[in-house]
């Protein structure tokens, strides 16, 4: 517990240390010279304070629910997550930094939510949880929370390459009546005010995040849908291939950032 708090408190510092990295990155991508920055560094002091303090961070309600579900046996196999994986603090430590991952059996990328549901259907013989359900959000938040403070590092080469390219194309594709791409707001204008909001780099190292506006925790795909809708574009479905590929690209944009789940945002 104590370590967790310390890591959370250090998050800002680590993100600043990421500056050096950013300069290297900007030679091969169009990432801004200011470096890779967590949304945390654009948030107000109040919001940062909420995130840093495990006692006041409302996202921990979901972490706690996830912890309960971890050892609850469900499904025809009569097994819980704990029966196969043991202590999540050890077995799930790396999961939060490495998804989405390429999966041979499905021939495409899989993100954490989908991995959790595959364990449920294949190993527990239980029903898959619905996207954005309290259970799936809690388990995802709990699993990713085990990686808090560790640097995001997704594989984008080898079989992941074509999916990465699709995600990148999505990020740069104009959409909707406002005809804007993700990059127009989160690459060209990170740090600028858009009406009352400071645009961040649109990083996902803190997801699932607790959003004050939502009054609950939400997935990165929910955020993608929101950003698509605000430019008056038709969003894709949660868990769609399009969003999983986009998630891979966006995770890669934030490579090296510490996992902050559950982050707190406005």
């Amino acid at each position: 517990m104590k370590i967790r708090q310390l890591l959370l408190a250090l998050t800002g510092t680590i993100a600043v240390a990421g500056l050096g990295l950013g300069f290297v990155v900007s030679q091969t991508t169009s990432a801004k010279a200011e470096g890779i920055r967590s949304g945390y560094t654009y948030a107000t002091k109040e919001t940062q304070g909420l995130q840093d303090d495990e006692m006041s961070n409302p996202g921990y309600l979901w972490v706690d629910t996830g912890e309960d579900l971890w050892s609850k046996a469900e499904g025809d196999a009569g097994k819980s997550c704990n029966d196969c994986h043991g202590d999540a603090a050890d077995s799930m430590k790396k999961a939060g930094v490495s998804y989405p991952k390429y999966k041979d059996d499905i021939g495409k990328m899989q993100n954490i939510e989908q991995r959790i549901n595959q364990c449920r259907t294949d190993n527990m013989k239980a029903k898959a949880w619905k996207w954005e359900s309290n259970q799936l959000l809690s388990m995802t938040t709990y699993v990713r929370n085990q990686s808090t403070g560790m640097p995001v590092s997704v594989a984008v080469d080898g079989p992941a390459k074509p999916f990465f390219e699709k995600g990148k194309a999505f990020f740069n594709q104009r959409r909707g009546l406002l005809d804007m791409a993700c990059k127009h707001c989160h690459e060209d204008n990170a740090g600028n005010l858009i009406r009352a909001n400071v645009l961040s780099q649109g990083q996902i190292n803190g997801f699932p995040v607790y959003r004050l506006k939502w009054g609950k925790v939400g997935s990165s795909h929910r955020r993608f849908r929101g950003c698509n809708k605000q430019v008056r574009a038709k969003p894709f479905k949660n868990g769609s291939d399009e969003y999983v590929n986009l998630e891979l690209y966006v995770a890669w944009r934030g490579r090296g950032l510490p996992v902050e789940t559950p982050a707190v945002r406005n």
Binding site: R174, L178, D179, I194, R195, R232
Partner: protein, 150 residues
């Protein structure tokens, strides 16, 4: 003002050849001459007072999302685009009209939406099909308002 972006921008000079853009469901045809659209889209001049409202109304122009404007009673002016104070001293009416109608004619990489275009979009939400963000009258009202910002 973000100089790096302006310098890096691709400037399309479709303008100087005098291209005509056809009318469709919602929009009327207009002709680009040099860097501007000299003729009013409605054939009449707009109402500056109504245009000021279009500029801050979140449901219509919402120019304040990205631009600072001399509209002190409205909180939160964006800083994505340049301050529009004095814009009428920098540009002619025709140039301002083109920038509101479709700023991509000047800068293909701009974040600024084309406010008077009704086709050529990707994954448009159904309710916006065949629509432009602003109507011809609203564009003219805005142009009239911006022309007061000397």
């Amino acid at each position: 003002m973000k100089m790096h972006r302006l310098l890096g921008a691709t400037v399309i000079i479709a303008a100087s050849v005098g291209m005509t853009f056809a009318a469709s469901a919602e929009t009327v045809a207009y002709k680009i001459v040099d860097d501007g659209i000299p003729k009013s889209l409605t054939g009449k001049s707009g109402d500056a007072k109504a245009g000021r409202k279009v500029a801050y109304n979140r449901k219509t122009g919402n120019c304040l999302a990205c631009h600072k404007l001399p509209i002190p009673e409205q909180q939160f002016h964006g800083e994505v685009g340049p301050d529009l104070k004095g814009v009428a001293s920098r540009y002619s009416e025709a140039e301002i009209r083109l920038r509101v109608v479709d700023s991509k004619k000047m800068n293909s990489d701009t974040i600024m939406p084309a406010f008077y275009r009704d086709s050529g979009f990707t994954r448009l939400q159904k309710k916006w099909v065949g629509k432009s963000i602003l109507k011809a009258q609203e564009v003219e009202d805005l142009v009239a308002y911006l022309m007061t910002l000397k």
